[in-house]
Structures are given as structure tokens and as C-alpha cells.
């Protein structure tokens, strides 16, 4: 009973939030709704007894959208509406609706034919975190390590790009420019 109520509540909240993300012209509304929607999604994980994934969803997306805010702060005046310059409105809307329908079809087809079953059904007495650890380090070890390497490469390239002026303090730069 409570689960059903909670499920519909979270569904409405999530869909509403993401609609605001798409339709709002104010960057601040969009970003805040994105953060809210991502946090509400964790509700579904909690409903499915996947506590760990739910909490990870909150922690990861809090930090990630915080970075989006940082860019928003640099690129927009967040208290004003963004002037959008969209031509060919009909084509864009038509294509996006079509692709959404395709996506739903692709995802729902296996459910409809009843062929979905858990590859790794949860074992009694083994916790959430242990199960994730077991699967990550056996079946999905290679994708896991590949993702780690990709992240490492991205991090190193980020550091190299910034490294040029890393050791200089603002005072050094002013001295170099002859302002002090």
C-alpha cells in the first residue's frame, strides 16, 4: 500500500522535475530541477530495497550537478531568462517524440514477451553491498576496470591542461604583468 503510494508520488515528482528541466527558460530553474529529479530517482532504489545504490545515486549526482552549477554560474546570468534561438521547431519536436517512442519500444519489448529474469537473484543473508561487490569483481570485472582507466585518463589530461599555471599564485601573475 505505502509502496504503491510512494512509487506514484516519486514518479510524478521525477517526471515533473525533468519536464521543468526541458521546458524552463531560466538556467537556474533547469539546474535545480535536474538536481531535484536526480535525488528523487533515488526513491525508487530505496523502494526496491537497494539502499546502497540509492545513497550512491544521491551522493554522486549531488557532486556532479554541483559542477554543472559552477559552469552555469560562469556562462549565464542565472537570474535572467536565456534567449533561445531555435529554428525548425516542428522538426525538432517531431524527431524527439519519435526517438522517445522508439526508446520505450526497445526497452519494453523484452518485458512484454516475458523474457526478463534476474541473472543474479539476490541470496538470502547476503547484504546489498556484498552482492554488488561480488558481481562487480567477477562478472563485470573488465568493464569496471576499463571505466576506471578511462576516468584516470580523463583526470590526468585535466591535470595536464591546468598544470601550465598551477604553481603560480595570483600575486605571481600580477608581478609578471608588471602590476606590482
Amino acid at each position: 500500500m505505502f509502496e504503491v503510494i510512494a512509487f506514484y508520488m516519486f514518479s510524478i515528482l521525477v517526471i515533473g522535475m525533468f519536464l521543468i528541466v526541458v521546458f524552463s527558460k531560466n538556467a537556474l530553474y533547469s539546474m535545480s530541477a535536474l538536481a531535484g529529479g536526480m535525488i528523487f530517482i533515488s526513491g525508487f532504489f530505496f523502494l526496491l530495497d537497494a539502499d546502497f545504490l540509492g545513497v550512491v545515486q544521491i551522493i554522486v549526482y549531488t557532486g556532479a550537478i554541483m559542477a554543472v552549477y559552477a559552469f552555469g554560474m560562469m556562462f549565464f546570468d542565472t537570474t535572467r531568462d536565456v534567449k533561445e534561438n531555435i529554428r525548425f521547431k516542428k522538426i525538432i519536436y517531431g524527431l524527439s517524440i519519435l526517438s522517445a517512442i522508439f526508446l520505450i519500444f526497445i526497452l519494453l519489448a523484452p518485458v512484454y514477451s516475458g523474457k526478463i529474469e534476474a541473472l543474479y537473484p539476490s541470496i538470502q543473508g547476503v547484504g546489498n553491498i556484498q552482492m554488488i561487490g561480488l558481481i562487480l569483481f567477477t562478472k563485470y570485472l573488465v568493464p569496471f576496470e576499463l571505466a576506471a582507466i578511462m576516468l584516470l585518463a580523463a583526470m590526468i589530461s585535466g591535470i595536464v591542461l591546468v598544470k601550465i599555471k598551477m604553481e603560480e599564485t595570483p600575486t605571481d601573475i600580477e608581478v609578471a604583468r608588471g602590476e606590482k
Binding site: 538536481a35 546502497f52 544521491i58 551522493i59 549531488t62 554541483m66 559552477a70 554560474m73 537570474t79 546489498n128
Partner: protein, 330 residues
């Protein structure tokens, strides 16, 4: 019937925890003014009531009855919701905190924790990091340059301390093998010698520093530092909305104090003749006192210094700590 009892119990516990933590947070503002005054050889609030104790009620009445001002050019919905996020997330975090050992009233065993989820520690840290959205949204929606600077500082603060607090807590988690705070408490049963602080001193120091950054306390109070950015994100706020931010901050202080006490300082286990609940109160009070002492004793750091210390000093130390713990455990 069992379900109804569970719901009633949870609601009662939630209301009590909310009232007690909010009350303690309000009282902490009074204690803070007194202790800061003594450290600076002043008397602090003295006129209202005995020893200035009723100053608290006077401040409360003032905050509640002040006119609610919403400035002209702000983004109104975000401006209104930001203080609510700051305080609500602080109170959501206390849902997974066990305060006292379980006790029995009229034959009914009560666990003083609202919801014992098995990832309690992660949940608290997640809720606390959502709390940083309060200052950020306030800063962005205020249409004020000082507020914007405060919001920008909130971003770098979150991106700096979150890594350190996560990595520093990883080593104790590896030793205990559970994310539940009750398991962490039970791991340290049996006196002061079994406290985790002796096995993980480095993790303790790192987590404490990250806790100071998480609660915006001096020396990391850079998002509302008066001398540089007026009042930071809270510049445009007044009355109860301003008050909500600070209720959230003090509730966070209490949560961090409880977390440190449970993870590193033996939790609510009995010490010698002191019962567990009293021991917990003493530890939390001492930790709150430390927060205030640090505020009186230290100047604050610059934002770039915070990033420097978090990413170049604390994070490598935390990683080394995790590595050593792993080698020792294997």
C-alpha cells in the same frame, strides 16, 4: 497491527528527534556566544533573564516576528526554497543516527534511531552534502554579487571536502566491514582501549577536518565570511528564512559530533561507571565545545588554501591511510 505500531513509533521518534535537535541547536547558539565571550574576556549576553539565559527566547521571538522581506530582483521560488533545503537536509540526516543505547519502557524495547538502514553512514553523508545546495541556491538566486561569491565558494567547498571525508571514513569501514553505525558502535565494545581512534588516528584527524569544512565552521567558514563577502549567501535574507539556515548549520554540527563520537570515540558504550547515554552526551558536548574553541582560536583560510589543503595534502594522506589499512588487513 504491527505495521500501525511501527508507523506510530516512527512518527513519535521523528518528532522527538526533530524537537530535541532543533532545541539543542538553538541552545548551542547561546552557548557559542557565552564561550566566545569568555575566551575574549567579555561576559556575553547577561541582561535578559538569569545569567542571560532568556536571550535565547528573545532572539527566537525576534526571528519569528520579523517581516519576511523578499528583495525585488530575486528568483523567487528558488530564493524561498533554499533555506528550507538547508535545514530540511540537516534534519533528514539525523534519521539514520543512533543517539543512545536501546532501552525498555513499560516492557516495550525502544531503539533510539528513526530508521536503521544498513548504509546509515553513507546516507548521512549524502544528506549532508545535499545540504550544501542551500547556500548555493541562495547565492545564485539572490541577485547580489556577494551572494554569488558565497555560492561559488559553496561549490568549491563541497568539491573539496567531500573527497576527503569519503576517503578518510573508508579505512574504518574496511576494518569494521559494515556501513551501519550500530555495527560501528558494537565493534568498540569494551572500554577506552577498544576505541577506533587508537587504530585509525589519521582517519580521525582527517574526518574531523572534513567535518569542520562540512559545517562551514571556522577555519573553513569562507561562504559567509563577513570581512570579505559581507554575509555571503545569506546577505539578502532576514527573519525566519535566515534563521532556517542557521538551524540547519547547528543541526549539522550536532550530527557531525555524534558521528565522530560513534565512529572513533567508542559510541554509546559504557565507560567504567558512566552509563552509555551519559557518555554519549559528554562526548557530543565536548566536541561542540571544540567547534567553538576552534572558532575563538583560529583565523579562517582563503578559498584557494582550502582547495590546496584538501586536494594536495589531505586527500593523498587519506589514500595512503586506506592503502596501509588494506595491507594490514590482508
Amino acid at each position: 497491527m504491527i505495521e500501525t505500531a511501527l508507523i506510530v513509533e516512527t512518527v513519535v521518534k521523528a518528532v522527538i528527534a526533530l524537537a530535541v535537535v532543533a532545541g539543542m541547536g538553538a541552545f548551542a547558539t547561546f552557548i557559542e556566544r557565552k564561550i566566545l565571550a569568555f575566551m575574549q574576556r567579555r561576559l556575553g549576553p547577561m541582561h535578559v533573564g538569569p545569567y542571560g539565559l532568556l536571550q535565547l527566547a528573545a532572539d527566537g521571538i525576534k526571528l519569528f516576528t520579523k517581516e519576511d522581506i523578499i528583495p525585488q530582483n530575486v528568483v523567487k521560488p528558488i530564493f524561498v526554497i533554499a533555506p528550507v533545503i538547508a535545514s530540511a537536509s540537516a534534519f533528514v540526516a539525523i534519521a539514520a543516527v543512533p543517539y543512545f543505547p536501546e532501552f525498555t519502557v513499560f516492557g516495550y524495547t525502544i531503539h533510539p534511531i528513526i530508521s536503521d538502514i544498513n548504509v546509515g553512514l553513507l546516507f548521512i553523508m549524502g544528506a549532508a552534502s545535499v545540504g550544501m545546495y542551500g547556500p548555493l541556491l541562495a547565492g545564485l538566486s539572490s541577485h547580489n554579487k556577494w551572494s554569488l561569491l558565497g555560492g561559488a565558494r559553496a561549490v568549491i567547498q563541497l568539491l573539496s571536502f567531500e573527497v576527503v571525508s569519503g576517503l578518510s571514513i573508508l579505512a574504518p569501514i574496511m576494518m569494521i566491514g559494515s556501513l551501519s553505525l550500530i555495527d560501528m558502535n558494537d565493534y568498540q565494545i569494551g572500554g577506552v582501549a577498544n576505541w577506533l581512534i587508537w587504530k585509525q588516528p589519521l582517519a580521525f584527524v582527517l574526518f574531523a577536518i572534513a567535518g569542520f569544512a562540512e559545517t562551514n565552521r571556522t577555519p573553513f567558514d569562507l561562504i559567509e565570511f563577513e570581512a570579505e563577502i559581507v554575509s555571503g549567501y545569506a546577505t539578502e535574507y532576514s527573519g525566519m528564512r535566515w534563521g532556517l539556515f542557521f538551524i540547519g548549520e547547528y543541526a549539522n554540527m550536532i550530527t557531525i559530533s555524534v558521528l565522530v563520537s560513534i565512529i572513533f570515540l567508542g559510541g554509546y558504550n559504557d565507560i567504567w561507571f558512566i552509563p552509555g547515554a551519559i557518555a554519549m552526551l559528554i562526548k557530543v558536548s565536548l566536541w561542540i565545545f571544540l567547534f567553538l574553541w576552534v572558532r575563538a582560536a583560529w583565523p579562517h583560510v582563503r578559498p584557494d588554501q582550502l582547495m590546496w589543503v584538501c586536494w594536495k595534502v589531505l586527500m593523498p594522506l587519506a589514500l595512503i591511510n586506506v592503502l596501509i589499512t588494506g595491507i594490514v588487513l590482508v
